[in-house]
């Protein structure tokens, strides 16, 4: 069961990622990225991370991708054109990427004692605790300060997004109002 689910959703994941590269229109790339993120949520479930699977769907496939698609439609982004720069990037980039992948894959395949992933195995040996209980216990006790600091980070991000996207005294502030992020 685990193997079948892994193969199906890993394949979906890879297909979505490759499709992201092949599509020339940004909206198609965004939709394939949603496929990748949703398949990753299923893989998180297989690895026993229920909370992260839910957060992946809500935050990534929901919020972040809606933001992306919103910007694609707002800016009316068309299909990209192939230029001299893209041909250079292709001829230099592909060998470099393959080299990086080869190094990482060698390290992973040479590592001993990685073991197998067991379906339904919890984080700790106490089986009566759910994943969310485990995560929240550590998050709100040991890591409370970093958790609170992230709220400041979000606040700064909101302020920055509004400040950057707002039509203030730019050089050409005569267009129609397009709103914040």
């Amino acid at each position: 069961m685990h193997l079948i689910l892994f193969v199906v959703f890993a394949g979906l994941c890879l297909a979505g990622a490759i499709n992201l590269l092949l599509q020339s229109h940004p909206i198609n790339s965004a939709l394939s990225l949603i496929v990748v993120m949703t398949s990753l949520a299923v893989l998180y479930l297989l690895l026993g991370a229920e909370f992260l699977a839910a957060a992946q769907v809500i935050v990534y496939a929901g919020a972040i991708m809606v933001l992306f698609i919103f910007v694609v439609m707002l800016l009316n982004a068309g299909r990209e054109e192939r230029t001299l720069g893209s041909r250079t990037a292709r001829s230099v980039g592909f060998p470099a990427v393959v080299a990086i992948l080869a190094v990482i894959a060698t390290v992973i395949l040479k590592a001993h004692g990685l073991g197998v992933a067991t379906l339904g195995e919890g984080l700790t040996n106490a089986q009566d605790n759910t994943n969310i209980e485990e995560v929240s216990r550590v998050l709100f006790r040991e890591l409370l300060l970093p958790f609170e600091v992230t709220s400041v980070l979000i606040l700064i991000a909101i302020l920055g997004a509004v400040a950057l996207a707002s039509h203030s005294d730019g050089p050409q502030g005569n267009g129609e109002r397009t709103g914040g992020e």
């Binding site: 685990h2 193997l3 892994f6 890879l14 990622a17 490759i18 992201l20 590269l21 940004p26 965004a30 990225l33 990748v36 993120m37 690895l47 026993g48 991370a49 992260l52 992946q56 935050v59 972040i64 933001l67 992306f68 910007v71 982004a77 054109e81 192939r82 230029t83 720069g85 990037a89 292709r90 230099v92 980039g93 990086i100 992948l101 894959a105 992973i108 395949l109 990685l114 073991g115 197998v116 992933a117 067991t118 919890g122 984080l123 700790t124 994943n131 995560v135 550590v138 998050l139 980070l153 979000i154 991000a157 909101i158 920055g160 997004a161 509004v162 400040a163 950057l164 996207a165 992020e181």
Partner: protein, 107 residues
């Protein structure tokens, strides 16, 4: 068929999937000529690293691996908001999304 149903998946397969996704993200970052798609490739790389974190958290029964993924998600959300606002500002100033034409800081 029953052996297929009870078959376990090696940890290294998850890590290899993560590595391949990361490499595809790097390739997209280098190849794509649209600013928004380049940004999507960065999100793909973040997701690939998250999969590694969750895999190692599963292997070592460590809760903090999953919490780190949670923080990465928070930072990715903040980064997406600010980055897309920057993209809107760039588009407003230069009326293009092609990375080749956004070369004001190029020497």
């Amino acid at each position: 068929m029953s052996s297929l149903l009870t078959q376990e998946v090696p940890i290294s397969w998850y890590l290899l999937l993560s590595a391949v996704l990361f490499s595809l993200g790097v390739a997209g970052f280098l190849i794509k000529r649209n600013l928004i798609t380049v940004f999507m490739s960065i999100e793909l790389m973040l997701n690939a690293v998250n999969l590694s974190f969750v895999t190692f958290a599963h292997q070592w029964h460590a809760v903090k691996g999953q919490i780190f993924v949670f923080f990465v998600m928070v930072v990715a959300a903040a980064e997406a908001a600010v980055g897309l606002a920057i993209i809107i500002a760039v588009f407003r100033a230069r009326a293009t999304l092609a990375v080749d034409r956004i070369d004001l800081m190029k020497l």
